[in-house]
Structure formats: structure tokens, C-alpha cells
Symmetry: C2
Subunit: 478 residues, 2 copies
């Protein structure tokens, strides 16, 4: 029976009708009607077999590539997204301009150890760093983490020196209970505030060990957006993990380690990006809608396949699959592709400012910004009254290997958290991030890192949950 | 008993004496005397706990780094090796100059796709390629492998084009029975002869997918040493696997893919390197000796940790451990650190020319040039009369997880095969190459890729076998 159903589902979209099918879960049909549950199962099984999400990532990374906000690549990405939404049959497609305070030119970055041993160092500018105005030479002073650097009294004790924060991102921090993200949080402290701490102690530059879990010889970029006006603007750069290890091994020999660096980065004037929105308009109109988010921008050295092509592909595909059902869902679904996430959720904040008055019309939201790995746990962030319903809906994605969490504290990932923290009901599908933090923000974030089956599982989870939520007249508000 | 023995062995070198110990193998003591077997076990267990091999790789990669033949790094490596041999108590240490026909300047290499989509391409010059004399623009024409390129009739049909050999190195070729190396052999066909095949068909350049098993965004360099005098010298370069995949994905869309490349590589005049030799002089003098080989040179973008720092570290350490026994072994052991392996066994050939008349004095040889992974199978390459003895010796390394092969066709790996093919008795310890072909010849070949325990296992295997062979009056000749 199960095989037959799957086979039917893949023979064409028109077969995604409300035929009665058995399933390996027992849904309470007082909460989710038989026909709706059956449709959800058909949709889920079809999504598992349809490679659209992967094809979208391939298209975006091949035909557009890197797309940092304000660049020509970003403009091509916006045009790509509009065209794809239309091609996929979305009913309404539009863009909303996002002003960005500064543009930035990456330029070139090079570094070498000139004493006690000669070595090239793989280094990359952190986003929105100033350049070095030619060669900059300094002795490296190591700090275990940002806290250790901030423990140095303010003044000029680091004059002539490069502050080197050697913190190695923990893959797993036991106390946090959440795999990977906790170590990332600690790692990004020096990435986002290190240049200020270094400047206050007179350092010539701040160098951090890349925030990542790999030992590949790439530096992970990322944003340290924002200098303080009354402080010296010190160049900020990340070095690859192997180079950080090499420097630590030199330092433990006891001799001064001297580095020369040269970065031609440059902060430029105001620029702009755009949030791109596609809507599958529901049978009851556009006034209320569920929102599926991802960010369209990427860093500039890879092609942004896992960060966040995977989110773009899975969310566009999930909504497209729902739009390809026999009839439109009751309520609308909007895919929000945010601008300028990488420089601090700038697109999401602009969206919130523009739509603050309509927050109540955002019935439920979620975002993928953790790569193309499978979801492993569903966390709701809804009113207590609707928790039992979401739990019932969860039964229809549980066969994808997704557990249920009772926390009910989800606010939506990344951009979506701006809306979630403001009160919008949200779901978080916690993902297996696979090797996300091995690749993200490096030249190595390319299409070949996408695992197609995992992407299909991820997409199926979102399609199923949001189809169910769009078909039901439930108020998820807290 | 076992625990006690290990404990004794690590308390100090002086405890490596011929105390009677039990072991988990049954050795025929008519072939290997009790005392000798016991010493071998003590040596093996001590080597498993001593990190010297790893420390040597750390020292070489930190204090010297890249060391392509003829460069300043190579000269520092030669001085490093001489000093280390002496420090480790080798009795005789010397160098033998190796003339090299050409030097080479890598210069810079950059490439981008300029149509139909704009992309940077990660590319590296293949060793000893000519440069491009400024920007070179060409349409990419894909060939599945060198054979496909060579199937094009000679002439000028590829004028204005870049020949792109997209062969992806197979990790395992079923017919070969030998993991990894077979795919490498096929991959290196285009790397070593592609520039000739391309020139004979009028192509402007030869571009190959990197010969490696990874999907990291590094190009693997390697040598295509040697242009033919009467042919146009076309630039030869490797691109990273993700870039090769990207280009294939563009090509299947049906539009011409046009690439711009620029390489400032330059072939220069004659240069030189040196083989560095360290000897543990046996009780019966220097006239006859067993030889442990590795190559001291490396490619120039990483620090040559796995290729071939691992060989240098394991072979120096294995011989040093033998030299630290209570008395010198009966026969001498020489560690041969070869120059210029990477450009075609140039150091090994020079060694052979110089020592051809003394080939009979080389009693047994082996080389490590496959990274720091554990040995999994021992293959002998000795006279039939001594096979039973080597089999008996094998029992003392079998506890390291090493199988026995009946093939008896070993010639020694890499450099050592020059001597092995000329008739020197040899052993091959086939290794688990781990991720050797993911890292080798890239910027990513760095110390952090060494797995310390595996290096200790590898070193213990060589120390044990060569100690036994040095203590016994056996003629391994064929």
C-alpha cells in the first residue's frame, strides 16, 4: 500500500489529490481531518522524491554565484529570485528595497610570518574591515578568547602588536545542550567586537582564528560590522585554522612571532539590497499569511550554497510544492528572501520596520539558515492553546525522523527571529548542520557540499507542516 | 605481564634490554632467537608510545615549511635534516648534491569564467608550466580523460580553445584491487602528458580537474615536467574539484563557456638539491646497510606534512629508535632523504647513478611516501629463500594490525622503487592512506592533518622490521 502510494504521488502533480491512504502514524482525525492528513502525506512523499530544492541551489550558485549585498552578484540574485518565483507559479512576486549604511570592497588580503620562520598565512578580511594602507608589521600577542583580550587594561600596551584571539570554535558545548551553535556564539564574540577591544588597547590589528569547526586551510570571513567613531579603526582579519595552529606552535617556542599583513579592503558609501517576496495566494486571500524565510545574500568567496542557498532552495521548493496541489491552500504562504543577513539581519530589520503594523497578519513563520541538513527536532513557539494541534501536525513529519520538543520557545531562526521575538508565532526545525561550520563563510561553500537527499527531507518537512498550517483555521498566537 | 612490559619499556631507553618477555605471537625461535624477538617487541611497544615521528613532522613543517627543490625552503630543509640526524645520535650524516635541469618560479595564477556566468575559479599552475604572458582567453572544451583528448586528430582543431580534462580521480578502481593508487595513475596521465596532447591539437592551454579525491576548493598541483622542443609550450593548470563541477554544470546548459586565465609561472635555469643521508652504523661496519627512504622536498603551497613530512618523520624516528637500543644493530641502517621526488624521482635517480656499483650493499629497502596512516599489509620483494624468514619477522608486527601478502613483488615505494626495480631487495608496507589524496599537493597539506597515533603505529612497524633485519645475517637478494 505504501509503495503504491509513493508511486502514485510521483507520477504527476495531478495525482496529489485527496485519495484515502494509510500511513504509518495515527493522527487524531478530530484535529486533522482524514482528507487533509492524506493530502499532507502525499505532499510529503512527493517532496521526498522531487529534487527541486537541489536544482534551485544549483541554479542560484551556478548562474549567480557570490552575492554579497550591494554587489553586482546581489543584483543578479534579486533578478534570479523574482524570475524563479514566477517560473514556479507563485501568484504574487515583489521586492522591497533595503537601504544599507555602507558598501564594502573586499580587496586583496595577504599575510606572512617573517620571524622566527618564514611562512605564508592564509588570511581573509573580516567583513567591513578597513584596509591596512600598505604593509603592516607587528608582533603577535595571543589571547585565548575575547574575554582575555578585554581583561587587558585599556591604554596602549598593545601598541605595535597584533592581538591574536586563538579561540577554537567548540563543536559542542555540553552546558548548552545545543550542538554547534553555542561554540559559534563564543567564536563570534571576537569576530564582532574584537576590533573595538583591540583598538582600546592600542593594537595595530586584530587577528582571529577562523570561527569554524574544520581544519581546512581557509579563513572564514564574517562580519565585524561597525567601528566606533572615537576609536582608531583597526584592521580585522581571520586566519585559517592550520595557520592558527602553526602560529601557536611557533609561540610556544618562546621567540617573538612577527607577522606582516596587507589588506586593501575599503568601506564605501551607502548602498542597497532588496527583500524578494513570493506568495502562493490562499483561497481566503492575501490578508493573512504564513511566512517561510531564508536569506538571499551570501558572503563573497564561495557561491553561498549552504549559506544560504540551501534555505532559499528548500523554502522556495516547499511553497512551490504546496502551490502545485490541486487547489490553493486556505491561507496564503509567503516566501521571504531577506537581503543583507550576513551583515546583521539588515534585511529582516528593514522588513520589520516596514511591516510592523501587520505583524498580526503573520500567522506562523520559520527560516532555514543552517545548511541543507535534515531536520531532527521540531520546536514550536506558539500560544499554549495551539500546542496540541502542532503536536498532532508533527505526527505527519515524524516519519522523516523528526523528534518533538516540548520547549515551545521557538522564535524562528536568523532573520525570522526578528519577527519571532516581536511576537509572531514560529516554528524551529532544528537541523543536523552536517559540516555547515566547516564550510560556511569560506571559498569552500559550493554546490557540491549539498547532500541532495537531505535537502529533500528538509524540504518535505517544511512543505508538510506549512501545508497543514495553511489549511487550518487555527490561531497560533501566544 | 603485557602491561608490565609496556610500562617498563616507556620508563627509559636503558630498559630496552633483552629481558625475556611473553608476547601475543608465537615466533619460531629456530628462525628468530628468543632474545632478538624480545628486543623487537620491546622496541615495537616503545615506538608505539613515543611521539618522536610526530614531533619531527611538526618541527619540519613549522621551522622549515614548503621546500620545493631549488628554493630557499629546500636549502633550509637540507640544513634541518643534517642537524636533526646529528641531534638524534646518527653516527654518520652527509649530503650528496643532486643537479636539477630547471628551476621554476610558480608566480601567481588566477582564472575566471567570463561567459555565460561570472565566476572566480580556483586554479594553480602545474609544476614547471610556462606562464600565459598576460591574460589568455579561451572557450573551454571538455574531455573525459587524456585518452579522449588524444583521440582528437592532431592539427589545429583546438586553436583558441582550452582543453579541459575533467576526469575525477576514482577513490577505488575495482579491477586494480589496490585502493586509491589506480585512480591516481589514471588522473596523473593528463597531469603529466596533457600539455603535449593539447599542443599537438593547437589548444591554447590545458586545464585539468585536480587529481585528488576531495571536493575542497583547492587545486592540486603536481608535475607535468618537460616540454617537447618542437612543440608549442602551452600553459598547464589544475582547477579545484568544485570549480570543475561548476564548469561541467555550465557546459551542460549548452552555451559556450569562456575562461580567462593568467599565470606568471616561469621556467628558469639549472638548480640543485641534495639527498641527505644519516647512518646508524652497525656493529659490523658501514659497508652493508639497510635503507629507509622518504623524500625531503615538497610542493610549495602547503607545508608538506603528509607529503612527505610523514615519511621523513617516521623513517628518521624508526632508525633513531633502533640507534637508541642498548647496542648498535649488527648491520648499518641508513635513512635516505631524497631530493626532488616531486618532479620525477630526480634525487633517487641521482642516488642510483652515484651508487649503482654499490647496489649489492643495499641489503633491504623501504620508503614511506603515502602519508602518516597505519600500515595494513606487508609485501616482501626478496629472494624466495628468505621469504620464510620475512614471514616469521612479520609475526612481530602483526599485532599492529598488519596483514601478510604472498605477492613477494615489492620494489619499495616512490624513490626507493628506482633501487628496487634495479634489483635491491625491498619491503612495501601498504598503508591506509586516510585522506592523503584529499590534501596532497594543496595548501591544505599541513601539520594538523597528521594523526599522531597512526604515525606511531607506522613508525613502530618500520622500526621493528628493520631492527630484526639488521640483526640477522640473512641475504634477502633475489
Amino acid at each position: 500500500m505504501r509503495n503504491k502510494r509513493i508511486k502514485s504521488a510521483v507520477t504527476g502533480l495531478l495525482l496529489l489529490t485527496a485519495v484515502a491512504v494509510a500511513d504509518d502514524v495515527t493522527v487524531n482525525h478530530d484535529i486533522i481531518a482524514v482528507e487533509l492528513a492524506n493530502n499532507a502525506v502525499l505532499l510529503r512523499e512527493r517532496a521526498l522524491l522531487d529534487n527541486l530544492s537541489v536544482e534551485l541551489v544549483e541554479s542560484l550558485t551556478t548562474e549567480v554565484g557570490p552575492r554579497r549585498v550591494g554587489t553586482a552578484g546581489d543584483k543578479r540574485a534579486i533578478a534570479w529570485a523574482e524570475a524563479k518565483f514566477k517560473e514556479l507559479g507563485f501568484d504574487r512576486v515583489w521586492t522591497e528595497e533595503v537601504p544599507v549604511e555602507h558598501g564594502w570592497i573586499r580587496g586583496e588580503a595577504s599575510a606572512e610570518i617573517i620571524s622566527p620562520y618564514l611562512h605564508n598565512v592564509v588570511m581573509t578580511a573580516l567583513g567591513y574591515s578597513v584596509g591596512t594602507s600598505g604593509d603592516l608589521v607587528g608582533e603577535i600577542v595571543e589571547f585565548a578568547d575575547l574575554e582575555a583580550l578585554e581583561a587587558v587594561p585599556e591604554g596602549d600596551s598593545l601598541k605595535g602588536k597584533f592581538a591574536f584571539v586563538s579561540y577554537s570554535m567548540a563543536d559542542y558545548v555540553p552546558e548548552s545542550g545545543e550542538r554547534r551553535m553555542a561554540g559559534y556564539g563564543k567564536g563570534t564574540q571576537a569576530r564582532s567586537r574584537g576590533h573595538v577591544a583591540a583598538a582600546k588597547r592600542g593594537a595595530e590589528a586584530i587577528i582571529i582564528r577562523s570561527v569554524g569547526t574544520d581544519n581546512n586551510r581557509y579563513a572564514h570571513t564574517g562580519s565585524g560590522y561597525g567601528y566606533e567613531d572615537d576609536l582608531k579603526k583597526v584592521p580585522a582579519a581571520a586566519i585559517s585554522p592550520p595557520d592558527a595552529i602553526l602560529i601557536k606552535n611557533m609561540l610556544r617556542r618562546g621567540e617573538p612571532v612577527v607577522m606582516k599583513m596587507n589588506m586593501s579592503s575599503e568601506i564605501t558609501g551607502p548602498t542597497r539590497g532588496a527583500n524578494v517576496i513570493g506568495e502562493i495566494t490562499g483561497r481566503s486571500g492575501s490578508e493573512n499569511y504564513l511566512v517561510l524565510g531564508a536569506h538571499l545574500d551570501s558572503w563573497d568567496e564561495g557561491t553561498g550554497a549552504i549559506d544560504d542557498g540551501a534555505g532559499v532552495g528548500s523554502m522556495m521548493a516547499a511553497a512551490a510544492f504546496i502551490g502545485q496541489m490541486e487547489q490553493r491552500p486556505k491561507r496564503s504562504i509567503r516566501v521571504l528572501l531577506f537581503a543583507a543577513e550576513e551583515i546583521g539581519l539588515v534585511g529582516a530589520r528593514a522588513y520589520y520596520e516596514r511591516h510592523e503594523d501587520e505583524l498580526d497578519h503573520h500567522l506562523l513563520g520559520a527560516e532555514v539558515d543552517g545548511g541543507g541538513g535534515r531536520a531532527h527536532t521540531l520546536v514550536s513557539g506558539v500560544g499554549e492553546a495551539s500546542v496540541p494541534l502542532v503536536r498532532e501536525m508533527h505526527k505527519l513529519v515524524a516519519p522523516l525522523g523528526i523528534a518533538w520538543s516540548d520547549a515551545n520557545d521557538a522564535t524562528g531562526a536568523s532573520d525570522m527571529s526578528v519577527l519571532g521575538r516581536a511576537g509572531m508565532p514560529a516554528l524551529n526545525f532544528m537541523q543536523n548542520s552536517n559540516d555547515y561550520f566547516m564550510y560556511h563563510h569560506t571559498p569552500n561553500d559550493t554546490f557540491d557540499k549539498i547532500i541532495p537527499e537531505d535537502m529533500r527531507y528538509l524540504t518535505a518537512a517544511y512543505a508538510t507542516m506549512f501545508y497543514l498550517a495553511a489549511e487550518m483555521e487555527v490561531d497560533f498566537r501566544k
